[in-house]
């Protein structure tokens, strides 16, 4: 994407831009004509500013950061991931489960189907595209992520036609399936990735740990509006 502001402005017709806005920008330009443009946009590669380098053992670093921000993290394989999920659901006494496979995530439609089957066999109802009322009754959601960051334990989730924004927000507990190969070292790497997508989706969430607040006397409380329990399943692939 071009970094030069002028080339973008000229190439788009801008006829949906209201006159008032264009008028303001024009007026601002006259008012600030005296300002010396002497500071270049920093363009040195950010690889030198990474906190975590590509040669680090990313899965281990990610796992320890995830635990440090208050998530439950488990290493799983294709052999035992279903059992892990069942265990987590039991721990939450879950009765309503949302399973949302997503494009570009480790939770493929095929894997989602096998999870659904496994849970159905245990008598557990699952859903994929709940109504509003049902969404607010979900106990635990299971989703994938698009990318994960070792540096900060951040998971990137993209909403779209098959993934709701509410899936990682409304239920009180969230299970995220992350493949080892999805982990990038540093936030700088994540944003290079996002930048390379081309068109931005309407909503991207970078999620780091459970929902939290410390507004009351500085006492940390989790699970205020978003999930209070976040379980990260680190899949060995």
């Amino acid at each position: 994407m071009s970094g030069d502001p002028r080339s973008s402005a000229e190439s788009v017709t801008g006829d949906r831009v209201p006159t008032a806005v264009r008028g303001f920008v024009h007026a601002l330009r006259s008012r600030t004509a005296h300002i010396q443009q002497q500071t270049a946009l920093p363009d040195e590669p950010t690889s030198a500013l990474r906190e975590v380098n590509p040669d680090a053992i990313l899965a281990a670093r990610f796992a320890s950061e995830v635990a440090a921000v208050g998530c439950d993290v488990r290493r799983v394989t294709m052999e035992n991931w279903l059992l892990s999920i069942e265990e987590i659901l039991r721990g939450h006494a879950a009765r309503s489960v949302l399973i949302e496979p997503g494009p570009e995530t480790a939770l493929t439609p095929k894997r989602a189907a096998s999870l659904r089957q496994a849970l159905a066999a245990k008598g557990l109802a699952t859903m994929e595209d709940p109504s509003d009322d049902d969404m607010f009754a979900v106990d635990v959601s299971v989703t994938g992520v698009v990318t994960a960051v070792a540096e900060t334990a951040t998971m990137v989730c993209v909403s779209g036609s098959r993934t709701a924004r509410g899936a990682t927000l409304i239920p009180p507990a969230h299970i995220a399936l992350v493949a080892r190969s999805q982990i990038v070292p540093d936030l700088f790497d994540t944003f290079e990735q996002i930048s390379a997508w081309g068109q931005m989706p309407a909503n991207v969430n970078l999620i780091t740990g459970p929902s939290k607040t410390a507004d009351i006397e500085g006492v940390l409380v989790t699970g205020i509006h978003g999930p209070g329990s976040v379980h990260v399943l680190l899949l060995d692939e």
């Binding site: 994407m1 970094g3 502001p5 002028r6 973008s8 402005a9 788009v12 831009v17 209201p18 806005v21 264009r22 303001f24 920008v25 024009h26 007026a27 601002l28 330009r29 600030t32 300002i35 010396q36 443009q37 002497q38 500071t39 946009l41 920093p42 500013l49 509003d132 607010f136 540096e151 951040t154 036609s161 098959r162 924004r165 509410g166 927000l169 540093d186 936030l187 700088f188 994540t190 944003f191 930048s195 931005m200 989706p201 309407a202 909503n203 969430n205 780091t208 459970p210 929902s211 939290k212 607040t213 507004d215 009351i216 006397e217 500085g218 409380v221 205020i224 509006h225 978003g226 999930p227």
Partner: protein, 466 residues
Amino acid sequence: MGWLSGKLRLRLAEATRNTPVVEAVHRVTWRKVDARRVSMDKLRHAENLRTRAERIRRHVLERLPDYLEQFVTQATAGGACVHFAPDATAADRIICEIARSRGLRLAVKSKSMTTEEVRLNDALAAADVRVVETDLGEFIVQIDHDRPSHIISPIIHKDRRQIAGAMARELGCAYTEDPEELTSIARRHLRDIFRRCDLGITGVNFAVAETGTLCLLTNEGNGRMTVTRPRVHVALLGIEKIIPRLTDLPVFLKLLARSSTGQAMGAYTTLITGPKRSADRDGPEELHIVLLDNGRSDILAGPVPEVLHCVRCGACLNACPVYRNIGGHAYNSVYPGPIGSLLTPLLWGPSHEELPRVSSLCGACRLACPVKIDIPELLVRLRSLATDRQPRIKRWLLRGWAWGMNRAWRYRLGQRLMRRTLSDDGSGWATRGLGPLRDWTGQRDLPRPGARSFRQLWQEDLGDER
């Protein structure tokens, strides 16, 4: 009234005597200062990142019209409706009109100092829109009919008893002082509101010019609810909050939460580009971005444009010994603390002109600022632009003093006079002085200058020794 100052001094003096608030502010700010220090020490590239962040902000503000143009074009292409509000009244009018024309009646708000700045809640209430603050601290402020006292943690001046009382009284719930239980009560109450709301109002932490993307940083999840549940999302954005590219965002993300709360990252960083796509499962159908000037272009074109570099992290408030001893309400402004001492007179004019003087220029704020704003320098610059409007006595005294200092003989005379004006009870300490010295001795003693000044000592003895 003192010799050099008036009503503001009295208000501040009274604030220092509000012991429960002062103690609460001490506790919370020290905790945040320590948390910031620990987390910044762990950030290996902290100093380089701060420098880079400073340069990015400076670069953008040197070219703001171009970046604004790019942002507006991109945001519009992404499906957002962009509005321009020259001042607070216009912002309120635009947002109320959006609500009215779409029949929106229940608005949820994520915390936004900009919306406080334009007093949006009052305007919406007058337009018959029910507004519910959803950030826990702002929610408590709202139900207790209070004002926020810190730009990040609105209720650091309140203790759990006050909060418990407000919640029991206003929500009719059982009285409890337990933070977990109080939070749970708020969660249940607000969840119901989130299910029914039709308008969501947020501020914006950063707006990316390259893609027209809004970046929101939150911890609780109320921000995400606000931009997901209602069918219309209105984002109020000060024109200075632009950054050039997506790849510039991580520079700020790495610094912001550490500076604010000591966390490495906040819980949720949300990137919004336009309203929901037609096939998206959820999200608002309309996104309105209201660009707010309200004096910012004056600041940009004026003598202290660096004030606009601010990313509203609150680190300077936590670091400031003045803020710590008076609390946020004493500033009588939406923006308290060091950055507030600059913003407030610049946005709201002459009645706040004295605020930049309320600082010892200790520089703790400058050290804490993630974008390296030299707040003490800007305070001095503002002071230098207001000298003719300072109290007459102060101007005379200061100019008189400077005149006196301009000749060695006048300086020596001044020394002798001062020795005379300080009462001597034989202890070597003066407890009462005259004139401005009375304002000193009101609080502390002053050592009475000894029999000889250094220059006398030199002339009589020391100079000749070798």
